[in-house]
């Protein structure tokens, strides 16, 4: 029989449990859809692109190939995206500190599977789900070893962030191609 001082105790216990759950600070997905967030990201991305352009201009001619520049753009875009997440998600932290680590082999990354008999509960998940969950974990940065519930949370945030990244980059690409192609953006009707 639990000791209770009327409602206060059980409410406190529920409150504690609620707080414990909320302490995980589920990232809200709404922010990735807001225009403000996208604009902030776009301007940060443009600054990063300028840095890439400057560094590729001063670097060796062989380094400034299309492919390496494109990869530099991709990495800058990902880093800016991870920064926008403000460290609240695993994938963003992994991107921010993992860009150099990825090239070195991490000692833990080689372990294929958790050892069988100790994790009897994990086998309650059908193996087909487990395989797919593992594939998913490999796609999201920093989420290889995550259990399914946390993985799905990271995936939700990651997908929302990626969609914003695509939208922002499309806008910038459109703006750049329009500006580059047209004689002057102010004159839409007829030449001078």
């Amino acid at each position: 029989m639990t000791i209770s001082n009327g409602d206060g105790d059980s409410a406190a216990k529920d409150g504690r449990r609620e707080r414990k759950r909320k302490r995980r600070a589920e990232p809200s997905l709404v922010k990735w859809k807001t225009e403000g967030e996208q604009k902030t990201y776009s301007s940060k991305l443009i600054e990063a692109l300028r840095r890439v352009r400057r560094s590729s201009a001063t670097g060796a001619a062989s380094a400034a190939t299309d492919h390496s520049r494109s990869r530099a753009v991709r990495e800058a875009a990902d880093r800016a995206l991870a920064a926008a997440a403000r460290g609240r998600t695993r994938w963003s932290r992994a991107i921010l500190c993992g860009r150099t680590l990825k090239r070195r082999v991490l000692p833990r990354a080689g372990r294929p599977k958790p050892v069988g008999p100790a994790r009897a509960a994990e086998r309650s998940k059908p193996p087909a789900l487990k395989t797919k969950a593992r594939v998913l974990g490999r796609l999201v940065p920093g989420c290889r070893k995550l259990p399914l519930p946390s993985l799905l949370e990271e995936v939700s945030d990651y997908i929302a962030a990626l969609e914003m990244q695509v939208r922002a980059m499309s806008v910038i690409a459109e703006a750049l191609s329009a500006v580059g192609g047209a004689p002057s953006p102010a004159q839409t009707e007829g030449p001078i």
């Binding site: 789900l129 519930p149 997908i159 969609e163 695509v166 499309s170 953006p185």
Partner: protein
Amino acid sequence: MSGRGSRITDEEINELVSKLQSLLPESRRRNTGRVSASKLLKETCSYIKSLHREVDDLSDRLSGLMVTMDSNSPQAEIIRSLLRS
């Protein structure tokens, strides 16, 4: 959920997976009752891969267009003002 990490019920999985369903564009269109968890995970993987490809394509495009940023810095200002509006 550090304490409960090893005991995940099927129900919880289904709950999480249905939450995932609302994220995928195709599922939003289809909006049928229940898709199998396995199928959803697979669709999620494909969706993320296609998003990655889009970002790669956009990076290619941007790295080519960046050269125009090079010669005219007023263009960068134009872009900024476009974004601000």
